[in-house]
């Protein structure tokens, strides 16, 4: 049995293909061939455990290239995105990568302010290493992470001249929520406590040698949340996590990445109790992934990179083009470039512009696996309805009854229209794959 606090409801109905598929999309990047059946067989508890306690990392499939050469993630523009997307596609630890993506959004740092891909990748590894560990470790690591020290001006925050940027966001966005449990005075005092970090600027190479220097730290007494002491950056982190407003912010924010409707009061209280004990992330994630709201509640829009990685996982294709970072940018999500420190706006992934980006992602993902439109494929069924099933099965997905009616109609009308272009069933199946991959069904899970 998984550890859950009293009062946390667990999904108790049959855990079949539909539930396994939803879990794979919410807690990862969708299924690879065989994943749905394998997970369904494990049952809910076993399936969740297989995600939260995966085997050592193993990347299956061809290593990433930009179409000609191996990628250079530390140096080449966009290859940072390709590097992470490749991990999402080839990993056997999807929840770890999905959690890294959540932390990237939570502690949103952009390379527009950091300007060193190597530092962004270093931060990315931090998110992966602390994916399901302790929030206390994670917050401390992020607070003094070089990319973050550059992004929110930690290296400019000194005894003589405090800079409030990190101190404010660590409370507003990372631990407490806007105007919850802190005042403007706390912002200023946090900035003082956080002083002491610095780096050396190397001409042409950017900042390097990030370190703590006691002479830059403000040794005086600070008053934060009504407590006084000669606080340091570590105290800052500790005080934020022990603020009574923190657990509710933490569990609700974490929940919102997995389930689109807010938790009910009992669930909220249960999650807070579970988390407050020792600030461990894994038990909270396990409780959310077992909660009935995840399986019986409404659908969640897939973030663009989840959508892209999912299509590549389903089609068994690796990263073999530099176009992926450009198309994901069009779709509204360039990794390592969140729009601001608040992260991406998860309510607005889809609009008339980002839809076009996803359209191109689907086109490019499906192109090399298209059935030859001249010679066709003799194993294709003749019946329009069966062609729809064939296309959906290929994408390892199911379609809603509403879409089914229209796609059946499309297949029937398209078969005679396609004849003048070549092998009609092949052309229709290829068209259906594009339609299913860009349908409202597939944009959500």
């Amino acid at each position: 049995m998984l550890k859950t606090a009293t009062g946390l409801p667990v999904y108790t109905k049959a855990f079949g293909a539909a539930e396994a598929s939803r879990l794979l999309w919410r807690a990862g990047f969708g299924p690879r061939k065989g994943d749905v059946a394998r997970l369904a067989k494990l049952g809910l508890h076993g399936a969740v455990k297989s995600l939260t306690e995966p085997a050592a990392e193993q990347l299956t499939g061809p290593p990433p290239t930009d179409g000609r050469f191996p990628i250079a993630p530390n140096d080449a523009v966009g290859h940072d995105h390709l590097w992470w997307l490749d991990k999402m596609v080839r990993t056997n630890r999807p929840l770890i990568e999905r959690m890294a993506l959540i932390w990237h959004d939570w502690f949103a740092t952009s390379n527009t302010g950091v300007r060193q891909q190597s530092l962004m990748l270093q931060q990315n590894q931090l998110f992966r290493d602390n994916a399901l560990g302790s929030m206390s470790d994670l917050l401390k690591a992020v607070t003094v992470d070089p990319a973050m020290l550059l992004w929110l001006n930690g290296v400019q925050n000194t005894l003589r001249s405090p800079n409030e940027n990190y101190g404010r966001e660590m409370m507003e966005l990372f631990t407490l929520g806007a105007s919850r449990g802190y005042t403007e005075d706390d912002v200023r005092e946090q900035a003082r406590a956080l002083t002491g970090w610095t780096a050396t600027q190397l001409p042409g190479a950017g900042a390097t040698d990030f370190r703590y220097e006691p002479r830059l730290h403000d040794p005086g007494t600070k008053t934060i949340f009504g407590q006084s002491g000669t606080f340091t950056w570590e105290d800052s982190c500790r005080l934020c996590l022990s603020n009574p407003q923190h657990p509710s912010y933490f569990v609700k924010k974490l929940w919102s990445y997995f389930v689109p409707t807010p938790p009910d009061k009992a669930t909220e209280a249960g999650l807070e109790a579970l988390y407050s004990a020792d600030h461990q992330v894994k038990p909270v994630v396990e409780a959310i992934l077992q909660h009935h709201a995840l399986y019986t509640g409404p659908r969640l829009t897939k973030p663009p990179v989840v959508y892209t990685a999912g299509l590549l996982r389903a089609t068994g294709r690796g990263i073999d083009s530099s176009l992926w970072w450009k198309l994901d940018t069009l779709a509204g999500q360039r990794l390592f470039y969140p729009p601001n420190v608040g992260g991406w706006d998860d309510s607005r992934w889809l609009d008339t512009s980002t839809f076009r980006g996803r359209w191109f992602v689907a086109m490019l993902a499906l192109d090399p696996v298209r059935i030859n439109e001249q010679s066709g494929d003799s194993s294709l069924p003749a019946e329009p309805k069966k062609l729809v099933d064939h296309a959906a099965d290929f994408l390892l997905t199911t379609i809603t009854p509403d879409s089914r009616i229209l796609l059946n109609r499309f297949a029937k009308a398209a078969l005679p229209q396609a004849q003048r272009f070549g092998n009609a069933p092949a052309i229709v199946v290829n068209s259906l794959r594009q339609l299913i991959a860009t349908s409202p069904d597939y944009h959500t899970s």
């Binding site: 302010g113 929110l152 001006n153 400019q156 925050n157 003589r160 001249s161 405090p162 800079n163 409030e164 404010r168 507003e172 966005l173 929520g177 806007a178 105007s179 919850r180 403007e184 912002v187 912010y249 609700k252 924010k253 919102s256 689109p260 807010p262 969640l300 829009t301 069009l330 509204g332 729009p339 601001n340 608040g342 706006d345 998860d346 309510s347 607005r348 889809l350 609009d351 008339t352 512009s353 980002t354 839809f355 076009r356 086109m363 809603t400 509403d402 879409s403 229209l406 796609l407 499309f410 009308a413 398209a414 272009f421 052309i427 068209s431 860009t438 349908s439 409202p440 944009h443 959500t444």
Partner: protein, 466 residues
């Protein structure tokens, strides 16, 4: 007031998710079978009527009566309502430093508070309405338009009890109220009250994603990277049935735009608007699929898409496309906690030069009287500089109203750095953004502001137009 907002607050992500879920309510049903508008070489008016006419059929069996629908289409196409004026919102993202945009060179406190950041007097451009203030040298374009009476300056615009969070404060500006719980944008509510149910271009976000000030509860709005760039084909990949596939995308969307599941419904609405927008933007698509915007004036050359988007916007307006409210993000980074001088100068220069080109473009095309641009930021910055040659979050900021019809001059006083700072050392507002919004709605768009801005009657209305 703030305490009441914070007690029961769910995370911001959740608030935004809920807002998206609600933004779908009340969208009209669109029937399957939307045809791709056929033919090329239609004249502008023919295109609008013809183009909208072909699309009109697809709405036939929805919630709307045919007569009401005809009326809505006719309004959009004939472009002859009292609101044939366009309001453009431009956001300086991050909290632009009001004490640099127009710097108080003549205030004795300026160089005390800004020992390292103070701009040299010799670099500034004179500002007629207040001799203490000088324009930032990068704003030469706006200064020139101001001299022509085409820019109104708001030197200290904001609200009481300012919030120093980027996200909370910009939310206030986006929804048009100091209210955490509002889920629609102020321009979105204007469209809900005065827009039509079938014209996504009435609320256009010229950006990669939707600007929240345009979020509606009932009527459709759209998002577009650039008007000449909305094709759905890739040169290296050919789909033999592309027209039929695109029609089916729209059908699938329409079907799901009635779904009870909010995410499915939102995806459906977007998919059904894609086809509508494609038909509206047909004038930008050449016979070979390629398209360009031809501008009568030069725009700044830049990697940033802002000047290109403004050039496209001018072209759309000249074509008579049924736009009403438009939102863009200005280039540049305004959250200048460190090394402010260069960052700010670059962003301001591209913004100002592009806006100057845009105004000249509109004048050359003869549509300048129809357009009013509002430039805003979520707050200004702390009067006292920090130690990183930057500034931290402040309160009142600078706003601009730009266009041939604006009153020009200055709106609200510059409060000065001695008596004009609050107890945290931030500039106090001398005008309220909600009063500005109410005046824009009433005087520019001819709308009843009390339907759109909560508590509208309590805000003084500045006179905005000539």
């Amino acid at each position: 007031m703030r305490a009441a907002c914070s007690c029961n607050e769910f995370s911001r992500a959740e608030l935004l998710r809920r807002s998206a879920a609600q933004a779908g309510n009340g969208l009209p049903a669109i029937e399957p079978g939307m045809p791709v508008p056929a033919g090329t070489g239609l004249s502008r008016r023919d295109f609008l009527i013809g183009g909208l006419g072909t699309s009109l059929a697809v709405y036939g069996g929805g919630k709307l009566s045919a007569a009401l629908l005809q009326n809505g289409i006719a309004q959009a196409a004939a472009f002859a309502t009292p609101s044939d004026r366009i309001l453009v919102s431009i956001f300086l993202d991050g909290g632009a430093d009001s004490l640099s945009l127009l710097f108080p060179n003549g205030d004795p406190q300026y160089r005390v508070l800004r020992p390292r950041l103070a701009l040299p007097a010799s670099s500034g451009i004179a500002f007629a309405e207040d001799s203490r203030l000088l324009w930032h040298p990068s704003l030469a374009g706006l200064a020139a338009l101001h001299t022509e009476g085409k820019v109104t300056v708001l030197p200290a615009v904001g609200y009481d009890h300012p919030d120093k969070s980027h996200f909370t404060s910009r939310h206030y500006w986006q929804v048009g109220a100091t209210d955490h719980s509002l889920l629609t944008g102020w321009m979105g509510r204007y469209l809900d009250a005065y827009g039509v149910p079938d014209n996504p271009l009435q609320g256009l976000s010229l950006d990669a994603t939707l600007h929240p000030e345009l979020a509606t509860a009932k009527v459709p709005v759209s998002t577009l990277d650039a008007p000449d760039n909305y094709d759905f084909s890739l040169p290296q990949i050919k789909l033999p049935l592309q027209p039929q596939i695109m029609a089916m995308v729209s059908d699938l969307g329409a079907r799901h735009s009635k779904a009870s599941d909010p995410a499915l419904r939102q995806a459906g609405e977007v998919a059904s608007q894609v086809q509508r927008l494609r038909s509206q933007l047909r004038p930008f698509q050449g016979a070979d699929g390629s398209a360009t915007v031809k501008s009568p004036v030069a725009y700044p050359a830049s990697q940033d898409s802002f000047p290109h988007r403004l050039a496209g916007l001018a072209a759309m307006l000249a074509l008579g496309l049924p736009l009403r409210t438009v939102a863009l993000r200005a280039p540049g980074m305004y959250d200048t906690h460190a090394a402010q001088a260069n960052t700010l100068a670059q962003g301001l220069k591209l913004t100002s030069d592009s806006l100057l080109s845009f105004q000249r473009d509109l004048e050359a095309r003869g549509v300048a009287d129809k357009v009013l641009v509002h430039v805003w930021s979520e707050f200004g910055r702390r009067a006292k500089e920090n130690g990183s040659q930057g500034t931290d979050h402040g309160a009142a900021g600078t706003g601009f109203l730009i266009g041939s019809r604006v009153a020009g001059g200055m709106l609200g006083e510059f409060p000065g750095l001695s008596g004009g700072l609050d107890d945290q050392g931030n500039l106090k507002p001398t005008s309220d953004f909600r009063g500005v919004y109410a005046a824009l709605l009433e005087q520019w768009l001819g709308a009843d502001a009390s339907k759109i801005i909560p508590g509208a009657s309590s805000f003084a209305r500045p006179t905005l137009l000539k």
